[in-house]
Every structure is written in C-alpha cells, then in structure tokens.
Amino acid sequence: MSDAKKVLLVDDDVDLVAVNRAVLESRGYSIVSAHSGPAGLVKARAEKPDVIVLDVMMGTNSEGFDLARALRKDDTTRHIPLIMVTAIHATVPFRYEPDTNYLPVDRFLEKPVAPEVLLNEVLAVLT
C-alpha cells in the first residue's frame, strides 16, 4: 500500500490514540501520532500527513487551538485538512474559512467520536 493516506493523530490520551489508530489502520491508513501540541507541530512538519485529527483540550485548554493556528501559519502544513475533536458542547459553525484566526479547522467533532464517524469524516476531507 504505497499510496496509503497518512493520518496524524494528536491527543494527550495515549489509549484514545491507540483506539483511533486501530480503527484507521484497519482501513489501510498509515498512522503517526503525537501527545502534545508542540510535538504535533513537529510531527506535522516532518511527516506531511494527508489529514490531522486534533483534540482541543490537551495540557492547557488552548493547546489544541494554538496548534491549529500554528499549523495554518506554517507554509508546509497550511494546506493539510484539520479535524478537531472536542469534549465541549459547542455550537460552532461546521466549516471555517482556513484563514480565520479563530478556529481555522475543517471539521468539528463531538467527543466521543464513534469509529464509523471518524472513518467517514476522514474520508470526507480527503475527497
């Protein structure tokens, strides 16, 4: 599977990453992961994933947002679709303009994300 799409999972919960990894790998995706915002940025630059799934709440409440903004500022990662997962019940619009400074993400998902939903969403932003 040389043309396997690469997904970067960023979440401080290692077990949740393991679960999502299992789900996505079973559908042929190749997975890289990071457990903090700064590590996520490093991985994104180095691995050039096709999509990034990002948890909002990490060490600090804003760590996920900070990473999303940093990814959008960086020329090497600006174009990568971002799926943001949050435990907050937020009624934010589904899609944001990528250049909006506030949540520059492509998809917003409510935690916990069912495996089918994750697969659909990843597929959706890739096509």
């Binding site: 679960v19 299992a22 079973s26 457990h35 903090s36 590590a39 060490g59 916990p112 495996p115």
Partner: protein, 497 residues
C-alpha cells in the same frame, strides 16, 4: 416593718409630761425614748436613730417644737411630728402643722386621745414609706428600661447584618449602622422616610412591601446583589401582641464569601466530572473496538487494549478514593490518629512494597537510613505517613525513564525526622513545580502522556503533611530529576519537650 416595734420619741422639758406619755405608750407596746428639748431630740436624729413618730411640746428651752419641725425635716423628710400644745398656743400649733407637723394635741388630753393621734401618725408613716418604695421602684424600672433600650440600640448597631424596620405605611422607622454601610444612600435621610427614597433597590422595597401587605404573616427571602457583594435578605412581619402587622423587619446578611465558595465547589464538581468522563470514554471506546471487531481481528492488539482499559479503570478507582480522602479532610471528617511512630520502619515497608513495580519498570530503587540514634520517634498517624511516602515513591518510579534510579533516604535532626525521595527522572520546570500540589494538575508532555495518574496524589500528600505540622520541599530540574523531602515533627518537638 410589722416585725419591728414602732419607735416613738417624746420631747418635753417637763419630766411629768415625758414620763406620763412614756407610760401610756409603753403600755401599748411601743418602744419609747425621751428627750428634754428640741436640740436633744435633733441630736438623736442626727446620730442616726430612727423614730417613727416624734411627740413634741412647743415651748422648750434651747429649741422649741416649731424649730424642731423644720430642723427634723432637714434630717429626715419623712419624719412625723405631733405637737403637744396648751390652748393658749393653739394658733402656733396650727402654724406648726403648716410647717410640717402632722397634727397637734391640746393639753390636757386623755391617754386614748394620745394613742389615737399616735396611731394616726404611724399609719401616715406606713403609707408614706409604702409610697416612697413604690416611687423608688418605678424610678429604677424606668432607669432599667432606658438602659435596656440603649443596650439594644448598641447591640443593633454592633451587628454585622444590616437591619431595616419599615412601618405599615412603608416608611423606614429604624436602620442600624451596618445597613447604612450597605446602602450609603440610606444614611442621610431623616426617619421616618419612605422606603423608596432610601433603599435605592427596588428589590428590597418590593420584598419588604410584600411582607407588610400580606394578608397573613409571611417571611420573604431573596438574594440581592449590591455592588460587589451578595446579600441574603430575610423580611419578616413585626406583629402586635394581638397579631396585627405593624410593619416589617428586614435583615441583610453578606453572603459574598459563601457564594464564592459555592462557585468554587461547582467548578470543582465539573472538574471532577471531566476527570472521570474522559477516561471512561476512552475505556468505553477500547472495549467497543475489541467487542465490535470494527478494526478487524488482531488478538495481540485486543489483549493490549483490554490491558490498558484495566489499567485506566484502576487509575479511576485511585482517583475516586483520593477524592473521597480529600473530601473527608476538607469537611473535617478525617482525623489523624497520631502516635509515637518510627519513620524508618514505615519508609522501609513502603520501599519493600514498591520493589516489584520498580523492577517492572527497570528502575533501581534504593533505601538508606541514617543511624537510628539520629532519627527520633515522630508524632504521626502511621497510615497517613505510609500514604505520603507511597505517593512520593510511586511518582518517582513513574516519572523516571527505564534505567533510572530512585533513592530514598531517612534522616533527622532532633526537631524533625525527614524522608527524602530522589530520582534522576524527567524532572519539572519551576513553572510546573508551582502547580504540582493543585487538584488535578498534571504536567503534560510526551512522557507524562504515557503515565497514568490523577493529579490528586500530591494534593493529598500536601494536606496530610500540613495536618502533621510538617513541611514538604521540592527540588527539581527538567531532564535531571526531582527530589521531594518531607519533614515530620519529632515527639519531643511536637510536645514541646
């Protein structure tokens, strides 16, 4: 008064008259004394001898009856004087009654006449004394009331709660100092003043009027925000003995601090809920993957997932029991059972119990105790000390990568016995170190992400150390390692020996 024999003083310069009177009166059971002129009589009064009735002749050497009346009243305003007089001086006798004698008896007189006059005088005297007692009682009660009133006023003004009394017409008739502080606009207004004028707050007005206008007595309560403070306002009717409403009294209590506590508490609850929800969701997802087979069959991966789920639920259980312990401490439902304890023994036990875990993680765990003479017994709850040391050793093992070292040392200095848990693990930055005792705080980085924890362990450690009047010192630098030192007061120090 009835027990005491009535005392009578007979004043006359004629021995015959004196003795005659004495005989008549003594026969009736009176206690009779005599004096031979006004001056002698006055001296006996001045000496403090009390007489109920004085019988005095008008004409006497040195001081006559007329002058005696006046002089007597200067010594004792209630003194009763009966004047004995010859017909020739009857005008003078009348004059004497005008000056204060209660009567006169013309010479010659019969024993019965004398006794009648004396009895009259004694009756008068009794009445006067009674009236005086009554008057004195009334005066003292008035004083008491005045004092009570000023006392209540003082108390009212010393109260920290604001007090406001409103009459049926909705006028403020009373306010205390605290109320003036709470509502400065109310201070300047003379009383009574319409409640709308003074209490700028429509909520208080409506609350008070609700009570005043209610058909049956009611108590109304509301939380009202004035500036930066929140007040609990309770308004109750002021009832007449008959039950009719005279007005309402409102008490304003500052509950700002309570409110803050309430907010902190609900924030804590939502924090706890979050701390429980995330791991539970992860456990659920892990089990779901294995059971549904949605990620395909992979027995080894499934086993690992279930293993991790088990570990996570254990951590959750620790979290719940830590929380229960913390709550017990906070609500005062936890008390230390302090006794003479040997720190080295407890620490050795804990280190032994942790040996297996350190081997699993390939971390070298060592213990070193100073000479027993150096480590004096401490006054501590052994279970609490065990819990403190276990937490520190667990952390040292958890936050030290494979191949690292954890060194536990026990020493003392007479005042304190000390345990130091030192590792060469990941360490912390000063900023992180400032928060490690906070509830649920965990350092987040790629290393700690793989370490299960609750963020409550050190919170509990800190509380327990504080309860022992001990101290905890932390020394740490990122990548180099950390050292936690806990000192417990020795028995000698704690008991002031």
């Amino acid at each position: 008064m009835a027990d005491r024999r009535n005392r009578i003083l007979v004043v006359d310069d004629e021995v015959g008259m004196r003795e005659g009177c004495r005989r008549i009166l003594a026969a009736e059971g009176y206690d009779v004394e005599t004096a031979d002129d006004g001056m002698a009589a006055l001296e006996r009064f001045r000496a403090g001898e009390g007489f109920d009735v004085v019988i005095s002749d008008l004409k006497m050497p040195r001081m006559g009856g007329m002058d005696l009346v006046q002089a007597l009243h200067e010594v004792d305003e209630d003194a009763l004087l009966l004047v004995i007089t010859a017909y020739a001086t009857i005008d003078t006798a009348v004059d004497a009654t005008k000056r204060g004698a209660y009567g006169y008896i013309p010479k010659p007189f019969t024993p019965d006449e004398l006794l009648l006059h004396v009895r009259n005088g004694l009756e008068k005297r009794a009445l006067r004394i009674e009236a005086k007692a009554l008057r004195e009682e009334r005066e003292s009660r008035l004083l008491e009331v005045a004092f009570e009133r000023s006392k209540s006023t003082t108390i009212l003004h010393c109260m920290t709660d604001g007090v406001l009394v409103v009459n049926r017409e909705g006028h403020i008739v009373l306010r205390n100092a605290a109320l003036s502080r709470i509502m400065p606009s109310c201070t300047g207004q003379p009383l009574p003043t319409p409640v709308e004028n003074a209490a700028e707050l429509p909520e208080i007005v409506s609350l008070v009027m609700e009570v005043v206008q209610a058909d049956a007595p009611i108590i109304a309560s509301r939380e009202i925000v004035i500036g930066p403070c929140t007040y609990m306002v309770n308004a109750a009717p002021v009832l007449e003995p008959g039950g009719e409403t005279l007005g309402a009294v409102a008490v304003l209590r500052d509950i700002t601090a309570l409110k803050k506590l309430e907010i902190a508490k609900s924030m804590f609850v939502s924090m706890v809920a979050h701390e429980l929800k995330s791991p539970l969701a992860t456990i659920e997802s892990s089990l779901n993957i294995v059971l549904s087979g949605i990620a395909g069959e992979d027995p080894e991966r499934d086993r690992q997932m279930i293993q991790r789920a088990l570990l996570r639920s254990r951590t959750l259980r620790t979290l719940v029991s830590d929380l229960l312990n913390l709550t017990a401490i906070e609500t005062g439902n936890f008390s230390l059972k302090r006794q003479h304890a040997d720190l080295s023994t407890i620490v050795t036990e804990v280190v032994d119990a942790s040996a297996e875990r350190s081997q699993e993680r390939n971390v070298t765990l060592q213990i070193e105790c100073a000479a027993p003479t150096q480590i004096e017994p401490i006054l501590a709850d052994p279970n609490a000390v065990r819990s403190i040391v276990t937490n520190l050793v667990d952390n040292a093992i958890k936050y030290t990568p494979e191949g690292g070292h954890v060194n536990v040392r026990v020493d003392g200095n007479g005042l304190y016995a000390r345990v130091v848990v030192k590792d060469d693990g990941i360490g912390m930055s000063p900023a992180e170190r400032d928060h490690i005792f906070d509830e649920f705080y965990r350092v987040k980085n790629d290393y700690t992400a793989h370490v299960p924890g609750t963020g409550l362990g050190l919170t509990l450690v800190r509380r327990l150390v504080d309860m022992h009047q001990g101290r905890i010192d932390v020394d740490s630098s990122p990548g180099k390692g950390s050292s936690f030192a806990v000192s417990f007061p020795t028995v000698a120090y704690a008991t002031g020996l």
